[in-house]
Structure formats: structure tokens, C-alpha cells
């Protein structure tokens, strides 16, 4: 069971959380302006990297807050947790 660091509550066991998939995918301001392909891209396509992955997490059985975290998809090691709206801590280094 993973140990997940909630930026509001601290490290708690994984069962208190729900993972919400890839982070930093903002909902388009004007969805109707997107063509079908662009909308499908937004809706369904994710990066699925081997290595560092920015993910949304919800502390559902805790403070109820959403936050983002960086997790290595190979080792499951978390390298950062940060609040919604904050920039990705390793910005510019994605895909390493």
C-alpha cells in the first residue's frame, strides 16, 4: 500500500485516497471552439509515461481536497505533492 503525502494532512495510507489520473489537463475554456479531433484528444488521450507522472489525487477519506503529485510509474516513489494551481515542480523536465 502506497504512502501518499496530502499537502494539507501529511502522509496517509493509500486507502484514504482516490487517484484521478493525469494532472495538468485543463478543461478548455470554450469547448465548442474545438473540433472533434481536438476534443477527443482532450477527453481520451493521456501520456501514460514510464517514469515520472504528474497525477491528480483526492484525499477522499480525509480532508476531501484535490491535489497533484509526482509519482514514478516504475518504482511507485512519490517525489512531490503540491496543491491545485501550483506549477509542476519539475516543470520543463517532463518526459525524462
Amino acid at each position: 500500500m502506497l504512502l501518499v503525502n496530502c499537502p494539507y494532512c501529511g502522509a496517509r495510507p493509500e486507502i484514504e485516497f482516490r487517484c484521478g489520473g493525469e494532472a495538468h489537463i485543463a478543461r478548455p475554456v470554450q469547448p465548442s471552439a474545438l473540433d472533434d479531433e481536438a476534443w477527443a484528444e482532450h477527453l481520451y488521450f493521456r501520456t501514460n509515461p514510464k517514469g515520472t507522472h504528474a497525477e491528480r489525487w483526492l484525499h477522499v477519506h480525509g480532508c476531501g481536497r484535490w491535489f497533484n503529485a509526482l509519482r514514478d510509474t516504475v518504482s511507485d516513489a512519490f517525489t512531490a505533492s503540491y496543491t491545485m494551481g501550483e506549477q509542476r515542480p519539475d516543470a520543463g523536465k517532463e518526459g525524462e
Binding site: 495510507p13 518504482s75 491545485m84
Partner: protein, 1006 residues
């Protein structure tokens, strides 16, 4: 059972760690076995001269006690501690001897000594590795019908219990700074070093007593003290510290992510007077900052013909039985070894007064001073010998040995008479937990073993688990590991005398003077795998160790390769002519040793298995004799049968009452969310398909919610209580996910909106009063509200009082009748319900359940999200296109509704079905086809989603999702039935009160 005079012919009068003042008696295959507190079942059996304890898995060969610990592959007993307290496959070496135990050997019929399945042993040339895979393939149908059942009946190891387990099991979560697994010399040194820091230390050991190998070390001194005295001092020091938790009888069986370690503690299987209040087992889930793995090593047997005869055991185990349990496994013992450690066992046996012979496979030159020392004790030492076999049937009577030269030419045979044999083929570090932690073991040529490589998690290994067999070195290594784990720097050395005898020459399979391909030299006793099986697998092309493992089954099941792993790897390496590191090692999987289902389940059984939610009105329904059904976690009243009524009759009566007079229904399970704040209406606009800005306070609206993919997610009536306050209802099952969905958008997409979301499902109970007389029933009870049609129309909400308590009164009609939903606080729900019921008596008020509710809503064509939709249904598909506010620029899911496949003509659309035979009620889920005579596989057009008998209509009704359904109105299609097909006509999905006129109830004729 109290004969205290049962002899223990193989027990020494003195010595050992058993308590001779506390005799214990238990049964083995019906025979009373006497032992002492501190005995294992295995040591007590040996004290009574019992070696034969089971039949092997495949060949049903007689098998005896091989080891003294968790690596025991043979002595697997069925153990009963009383009614319901029986389980199979207990290692006799790990079960503490206790008064009243009833133990039995397994895997034989009719008896242990005369086992009919022993015929398999004669068939051994046929039942080779992969036998099942090769033989039972044809004809194909025979596998399920004949082969598999027959093989399973003959092969199963142990009998699963069938009674309820009366014991209690619990879970415990713990955090610590340093978790030390294993309390041998390295583990204790680590604990001593770490505990000095004041940090929280947990020490867990699978044995009943802490101490590991120190418990049977009769020869070493540590810092001038005997090993026994040093152990006592170390334990006293640890016990005196409040930051240290010592857990004997606790097996760490799983090493998971982020230093999460699962351990099982056995509490009442061992003798502990007055401990009946304790749970049987406690599952510990430990989150450790640092872990020290001091899990020791397992001794390897030697592979030669008939090396599995009862009485043949591990050399170190003989030492354990002698020194720890004061039991002589035999009186004439032959040790056969390829290494040094057995020399200590031989010396201890000699010191105990036993007749000892030593056979060493190494040449004289390789045995150094060890052989000279042993000879000086008067022991015959045969170096440069091989073992060719054993004699005896149910018990070993002799060991056949012969000299071998450097080219493996075998000299003349000699049989050494004996009644026990101690084997030592070297040592294998127990790297199981390290491997589970995702660490990759690395091969060390100098000790012919895999040891922990680079740590992946915050752990470090020490002692024999790391291949450090020398006692002084293991202590020092343990100390350093403990200190480092606690964040201290510090080393300490320990003075040990005499130096530990270590070192061995690997011997995969001892040379023989007969055709080696005919020799069954077992390497995996539990799975009956012989060296030649591994060689055969390699010859047949299995080169990966993982494949060899599965093909031969070596190292599988509960054994997890404790005794066999290195032998198998070595044989594969030899057969392929590749060095061991290139062959690699298998992955060790949890659990390290078997864990009871009870420990895993813990308290989550019976009523606590899955939590059940009930409403404040539940007990009333129970008292009325309601029949309940599960809806998500809720239990809801399904119908209220009167004496002699079946469900059909009860539901028909309940429906009639609602249509003709009035019914009362517990709708408290509806999800309720309050959406509050200056931006509440804007938030609602974005989340729902409907427009909310123009909804006046005091009015309700049916709201439809989509996911971003455009499919229906949830629905429910929403009341606007004030400009900045909405009372949202959701489906019963959808409450939590709707709130989560709303929170997700609010927190992550629209955090600028000032809105607060609060779940109020538990706070508001809902009493639905439905039917033409509904207003008359509640009118006498309400105050502060005008119930007139003009003041309180359909789809309105009012805040006032009922029975003197505050209410949010909704005028809504999921039944299609005039109706109210009385929201009152949960505390007052029962009293208000009873008052309404009382008030309704003169009108014939009838409680109705979920089944009638479903019939009533289906008659009106109202969908239930999750029943009539399945996550692939759009509003258009469900006939709810009118719910979409065309004027809104955006809402969740809007863009997806414009994707080409979301508007395709052949989408499945909600329609009604009228059966050609009016009485026929279709099965929900029944498939729909156009032509029942079409060849199979037929094209499925859709399926029935809701289907009921309608008393109001006088015929059955059904809703269905049908491809292009809206264009098929009037067509005849066919629905599957249990016996064939039924003709159905596609109709509008509304069966009753097509124009919705009944919602005004008795206002119409008031």
C-alpha cells in the same frame, strides 16, 4: 487425556529450553504424544520416536520431519484445537505442543502406514515432470469431465475446514522508526543498536521464543558469556526499554510498497492460560521508516537416491532438536555434508552421548582442521565420499556411502547402520522479503548463494540473510545495520569463541555409481521434484528458471523455494552450461509462509463484512414485516406483504393504493447535496444540462447531469430554496460520486466560483406521500404553508413545519400522482412518519416498497439512472433531449453531444415494449432481435432494461434500449425468454396517464 506416564524415550533427562514441570499431551493419528511446554509438535513427536508424519504430494512416499522451522516441507499436519478450530497444512515444526491438540497426517488413504496411492511411487517413471500437461490433453472434453476431477481428488494436500471459525481475528496498524525482522544474533544486535536512540523499534520473529540460532547454540561464547546468557541479557535490555516492542510468534510475510510490512502474530494457538479473550491472530500492518532484514538462512539438503526417507533430516535441525528441545532424533546418527557447519552438529550429538559418523563429500584436503577435531572426539570421519542411497522403508536404517575420487570414480559401497541422518548441503540466505521489496538479489560465487543487492526501499539486510554466517561478523553487521537505521553512526565488535565453522562446497547432485537418469534424488520435498525432473525440463527446452519452476513445480506453493531454490538453479545452470548469475533467480512472492484467511479478513465478517446502511424508518418497516433488498450499501423495504401475500400480490395491492388513494414510501436514501454560495446558480448551470438562472426560489426542476463524455451520469429533482441555495437530490446509489464529481470541477476547474457543497443525505429523511389523497393526509399536520393548488403547485418547494418540526416540503411525483416528499431531520423522521400514517388511515394509506415504486415510475416512463442507462446513454437516447438547455454556451458534457457517433441514427434509444401476450413479463436484460429465425450468432438490437406487471394497465410493461428505437415505433421485434422468443411491439415509453394529468390529484375534482 491425562496420562502423565507416557514415556518419551528419545528425551534427554536434562538440558534444552523445554519446561519439564509443565507436561503437555496431544494426539497424533489417534495416539497420545507426551511432551513439555516449549516443545513444537515436531520435537514432541521425535521425543517419542515418531519420524513418519506424512506422505509426499505426488508419489505418496513416506516422509518424515526434515527441518525445525518454517522451511519444513514434509511434516504438514491437520491440526484441530476443538470444534471449528481445525485447519490443514500446519508445519509440525512451527505448531507449539499444547494440551488437547488433535493432529493428523495428510495425503494418504486408508492410513499413513498403508497408503493405496503409494502406487504412484511405482509409476514414477511415467509421472515425470510435466506429466499432466503431456498426458491428459486428449480427448479434449475429458479434461473437465474426467482428468481434472480425478487428479484433484487424488492430489489435494490437506482438507479445507467446512465449519464456521469461532475464533476472533483482528488487524492492527502500527508505525515505527526501525522494524527489525528476525531476532537471531544479527537482529538482536540491530535492535540493541537502534533502541539506544530512543526511536520506536519493533522486533518481530516467527518463533515462539526470540533468539534465533542463539536458542540452540551450546558452544559459542559472546563477549565472555555463553550464547544463552548473552541472549537473556540482550532480551532483558530490550524489554526494559519503552520504545521497543518485541513480537515473538510474529511472521513478517509480505513486504509491500513504501515500507509497508504485513505480519501475522499468533496469540492463542500456544499455551497461555486464561487467554481465551484474546484473538487467535493479529494482522499487523506496519509502516516502518527503516527496516532491518535479519531473516537468517535455510540449510540445503543433499541430493542422492532416496534422500527423503523418514529419519533423514537437516544437520542443523538435529542440532536444534538436541540443544533446544533436549531430543535425540536418533541414537546412531550419520551426518552427510559438503560443508563445515555440520561439524558443530556432529560435535553436539557426540557430546549428547550419541553414536556419530561423519561423511564429507569434500576431499580430505578441503576439510581442514574440522575433520581432525572431530576425529579427536572419537568420531569416524569419511572425507571424499559420496552418498549413494539410503535403506529402510518407513524409517531410515542405513546410509550407503562410497569413496569418490577427483574424477568422480566411485569406490566400493558401504552401508552405515543408523536411525537418523543429518544432511548439510550448505546455506541459502532467506532473501524472500528483500525480493518482495522489489530488490534484485545478486549471486555471490564465494558462498554459492544469492544475497540482497541494491536496496530499493529503506531497508538493509544483516547476518545470515546477507550471507554472513560467522557469528561475530553477523553480530557486528547487525549492530551496524541497526545503528544506521536509527540514524546513528557507530560500530561495535563482538568477541566470539570458538570461531563459527563456515564454508561449503556446492554439491548439486551427489555422484553415483548407477545410471543417474534413474536416480530419484529429491531437491523439492514438498512438490516431489527430483534433480532429474529439472534436468528433463531443461532437455525439453525450458531454459528460463521461471519456466522450469512452473513446469516442474519446484519452489511453488507454500514452500516458495526455501529448501529447494538454489538446488534447482544450480541444476539448471549445470544443465545449460551457464553460470548461475546468467540463469538468474525466481521472484519470491508473498506470503513468505501461508497466512490464514481469518487473519486477512480480520473483523470484516458476518455483519461487518460489508457495512449496511439503514434509514431512521428501517425499524418501522421491519416491524411491519417488510421484505428488504440491498440497494448499494442500503437496505430498502422492497414490499410489505400482508398475511398470505406473495410479492406479486403485495406489489399489485400497493400500486392500486397509490393510484386510487394514497401510499407512503421511505425515500430517505435519496442522495442530498446542498449547493450554497453567491455563484451557486452559475455552478449549477455548468454542472447540469438544464438552465437554472431563471428558476425562481420555491420552485423545483428535474435536473440531468452528464459526464464530460456526454453520457447520463445522474439525475434528480433540484429545489431552489433561495437565490444562493439549492437543495439537490441524486439517485440513491449516486450520492457519493455526484458529490465527488461536483467537488472535482469546483476545486480543479472553477476554483474562482464561490460555492460550498455539503452532503446532507443523512441529515434529511424523506417521507414520500403519493396518491390522489396525499394532500388530505398531510393537510392537518402542516403549519406555515398554504397547500392550495395556486399557492403550492406541482414542482414547488416550501419551508414550514410538519407536526411542529421544520420541514422542506417538496411537491413532486415520481409515481405520476399528486405527491409530496416530506423532508424532515433524521431525528424526527420516525415520529413524523407515524403521524402521517395515522392521519392517512381514514384514506387507506398503504406503505409501499421499492418494487411498487419501480412499477409506478415505469408506468409513467420515468427512467432510473443505472437501470435504464448504463453509462453509454445520451439524453437524446433516453428521450430527454428537452432537458438540454440549448441556450447555454457550455456545460459538462455539452461538447461531446456534438461528436458524430453521439448523434448516429442507429444508437440505442429508449422505447417501450408491449408483449404480444399481455400476461408475459419479460426478463430484465433479455436481448432483442429482429428475426428469431436468423442464424446464430444473431444481431442483437438491444435489451430490456425495466420490466413489470402493471396492474393499472392490465398488462405487462417494459422499457428497452433498442438500436434506432425511435424509428421503430410500431414494429414487431423479439425478446429472448428462458424458453425461446416472445414477440413484442415497439411503443412509446409511457404506459399510463400519457399527458401527466394525475399530478394534480384531487385538486381536479376538489
Amino acid at each position: 487425556m491425562a496420562p502423565t506416564t507416557v514415556a518419551q524415550p528419545y528425551r534427554f533427562a536434562k538440558g534444552g529450553r523445554i519446561d519439564r514441570t509443565r507436561p503437555v499431551h496431544f494426539l497424533f493419528n489417534g495416539r497420545t504424544i507426551a511432551g513439555f511446554a516449549g516443545d513444537s509438535v515436531a520435537s514432541a513427536l521425535l521425543a517419542n520416536g515418531v519420524h513418519l508424519v506424512g506422505r509426499s504430494f505426488k508419489y505418496h512416499r513416506p516422509r518424515g520431519i526434515l527441518s525445525h522451522g518454517v522451511d519444513e516441507p514434509n511434516a504438514l499436519l491437520d491440526v484441530s484445537r476443538g470444534p471449528g478450530r481445525r485447519d490443514p497444512n500446519n508445519r509440525a515444526t512451527m505448531v507449539e505442543a499444547t494440551d488437547g491438540l488433535v493432529t493428523r497426517s495428510q495425503n494418504h488413504w486408508p492410513s499413513l502406514k498403508r497408503d493405496i496411492w503409494a502406487v504412484n511411487d511405482l509409476l514414477a517413471p511415467i509421472i515425470v515432470a510435466g506429466f499432466y500437461y503431456k498426458t491428459f490433453k486428449w480427448p479434449r472434453t475429458f479434461w473437465h469431465r474426467l482428468y481434472e476431477p480425478a487428479i484433484r481428488a487424488a492430489a489435494g494436500l490437506g482438507l479445507a475446514p467446512t465449519e464456521d471459525d469461532p475464533d476472533r481475528y483482528v488487524h492492527r496498524h502500527a508505525h515505527c522508526d526501525v522494524l527489525v525482522i528476525g531476532s537471531g544474533p544479527a537482529g538482536l544486535a540491530a535492535a540493541l543498536a537502534a533502541s539506544g536512540s530512543g526511536k520506536r523499534v519493533i522486533v518481530a520473529d516467527e518463533q515462539a521464543e526470540l533468539g534465533g540460532t542463539l536458542l540452540h547454540d551450546a558452544s559459542s561464547t559472546i563477549d565472555g558469556e555463553s550464547a544463552e546468557a548473552w541472549l537473556a541479557g540482550a532480551l532483558a535490555m530490550l524489554r526494559a526499554q519503552r520504545n521497543v516492542t518485541l513480537l515473538p510468534r510474529t511472521t513478517a510475510f509480505g513486504y509491500y510498497n513504501h515500507n509497508h510490512i504485513a505480519m501475522v502474530e499468533r496469540l492463542v494457538d500456544h499455551p497461555a492460560p486464561g487467554s481465551t479473550a484474546l484473538p487467535r491472530e493479529r494482522l499487523w500492518q506496519v509502516r516502518a521508516k527503516q527496516v532491518v532484514l535479519a531473516t537468517g538462512a535455510h540449510e540445503r539438503p543433499l541430493a542422492f537416491a532416496d534422500n527423503d526417507r523418514p529419519g533423514i533430516m537437516m544437520a542443523e535441525s538435529i542440532r536444534v532438536f538436541l540443544n533446544r528441545y533436549a531430543v535425540a532424533p536418533g541414537r546412531r546418527i550419520v551426518f552427510a555434508t559438503s560443508g563445515a557447519s555440520a561439524y558443530q552438529a556432529a560435535a553436539d550429538a557426540k557430546a549428547a552421548g550419541l553414536d556419530v559418523t561423519m561423511v564429507d563429500t569434500r576431499p580430505e584436503a578441503g576439510c581442514g582442521v574440522q575433520s581432525a577435531r572431530l576425529r579427536a572426539l572419537g568420531i569416524e570421519v569419511l572425507t571424499g565420499h559420496t552418498v549413494l542411497g539410503s535403506v529402510g522403508r518407513m524409517k531410515v536404517r542405513g546410509l550407503i556411502v562410497a569413496p569418490r575420487d577427483a574424477t568422480d570414480r566411485i569406490g566400493s559401497r558401504r552401508t552405515i547402520a543408523c536411525d537418523a541422518v543429518g544432511l548439510s548441503g550448505g546455506w541459502t540466505p532467506a532473501v524472500h522479503l528483500f525480493s518482495q521489496s522489489r530488490g534484485k538479489p545478486v549471486y555471490r560465487d564465494d558462498i554459492d548463494a544469492f544475497v540482497p543487492g541494491t536496496s530499493v526501499q529503506a531497508e538493509r539486510s544483516a547476518g545470515a540473510a546477507k550471507g554472513t554466517y560467522d557469528l561475530a561478523a553477523a553480530l557486528a553487521e547487525g549492530w551496524r545495520a541497526g545503528a544506521e537505521a536509527a540514524g546513528l553512526d557507530g560500530t561495535r565488535s563482538f568477541a566470539v569463541s570458538p570461531p563459527t565453522r563456515t564454508g561449503f562446497t556446492p554439491a548439486r547432485k551427489l555422484p553415483t555409481d548407477v545410471d543417474a537418469s534413474r536416480v530419484r534424488a529429491f531437491i523439492d520435498f514438498q512438490n516431489d521434484v527430483a534433480a532429474k525432473d529439472v534436468e528433463l525440463a531443461v532437455r525439453e527446452g525450458f531454459e528460463s528458471v521461471e519456466h522450469v519452476k512452473r513446469y516442474t513445480t519446484t519452489g511453488m506453493a507454500t514452500d516458495q523455494g526455501k529448501t529447494s531454490n538454489m538446488a534447482a538453479l544450480g541444476l539448471v545452470s549445470d544443465a545449460l552450461g551457464r553460470p548461475v548469475p546468467q540463469v538468474g533467480t525466481t521472484t519470491f512472492r508473498p506470503p513468505y509462509t501461508p497466512v490464514s484467511f481469518g487473519a486477512i479478513v480480520g473483523q470484516a465478517r458476518d455483519a461487518l463484512f460489508d457495512p449496511i446502511r439503514t434509514t431512521p424508518l428501517h425499524d418501522w418497516a421491519v416491524a411491519q414485516g417488510a421484505v428488504f433488498e440491498p440497494v448499494g450499501l442500503w437496505r430498502r423495504a422492497r414490499f410489505f406483504p400482508k398475511r398470505g401475500e406473495d410479492m406479486h400480490a403485495a406489489v399489485a395491492r400497493e400500486c392500486r393504493a397509490v393510484r386510487s388513494a394514497v401510499g407512503i414510501f421511505d425515500a430517505s436514501t435519496l442522495g442530498k447535496i446542498e449547493v450554497v454560495g453567491p455563484d451557486a446558480a452559475e455552478f449549477m448551470n455548468r454542472i447540469y444540462t438544464n438552465a437554472w438562472a431563471k428558476l425562481e426560489p420555491g420552485r423545483c426542476r428535474y435536473g440531468l447531469m452528464l459526464k464530460e463524455d456526454g453520457f447520463i451520469f445522474d439525475d434528480g429533482v433540484v429545489a431552489r430554496l433561495a437565490r444562493d441555495r439549492f437543495h439537490v437530490t441524486t439517485t440513491t446509489g449516486g450520492a457519493a460520486r455526484v458529490l465527488a464529481h461536483m467537488e472535482d470541477y469546483l476545486q480543479t476547474e472553477w476554483s474562482n466560483l464561490q460555492v460550498y457543497l455539503t452532503s446532507v443525505t443523512e441529515q434529511w429523511s424523506v417521507i414520500a406521500v403519493q396518491g390522489p389523497r396525499a394532500r388530505a393526509v398531510i393537510a392537518p399536520l402542516v403549519s406555515g404553508m398554504d397547500l392550495s393548488q395556486e399557492a403550492f403547485p406541482h414542482m414547488a418547494v416550501r419551508i414550514g413545519k410538519i407536526c411542529g418540526v421544520p420541514t422542506r416540503l417538496f411537491r413532486v411525483a415520481f409515481t405520476g400522482e399528486l405527491g409530496y416528499e416530506v423532508n424532515v431531520s433524521a431525528d424526527h423522521a420516525r415520529a413524523v412518519w407515524e403521524a402521517v400514517y395515522e392521519s392517512g388511515r381514514t384514506f387507506g394509506i398503504t406503505p409501499y416498497g421499492t418494487e411498487a415504486m419501480h412499477v409506478l415510475r415505469a408506468e409513467r416512463g420515468f427512467i432510473v439512472v443505472g437501470q435504464d442507462t448504463d453509462g453509454t446513454v445520451t439524453p437524446e437516447d433516453a428521450g430527454l433531449a428537452a432537458m438540454i438547455a440549448k441556450t447555454k454556451p457550455d456545460f459538462v458534457g455539452k461538447r461531446s453531444l456534438m461528436r458524430p457517433d453521439m448523434v448516429a441514427a442507429d444508437r440505442k434509444q429508449l422505447v417501450g415494449l408491449a408483449t404480444q401476450v399481455p400476461q408475459l413479463v419479460l426478463d430484465e436484460g433479455a436481448q432483442i432481435v429482429a428475426d428469431p429465425r436468423a442464424p446464430i450468432p444473431m444481431k442483437m438490437l438491444g435489451h430490456v432494461t425495466s420490466s413489470y406487471w402493471s396492474t393499472a394497465c392490465g398488462h405487462s410493461i417494459a422499457l428497452a434500449l433498442v438500436s434506432g428505437g425511435c424509428a421503430r415505433l410500431g414494429q414487431t421485434l423479439y425478446a429472448t425468454t428462458p424458453t425461446g422468443f416472445a414477440a413484442v411491439r415497439v411503443v412509446e415509453p409511457v404506459f399510463f396517464d400519457r399527458h401527466g394529468e394525475r399530478v394534480n390529484g384531487d385538486f381536479a375534482h376538489a
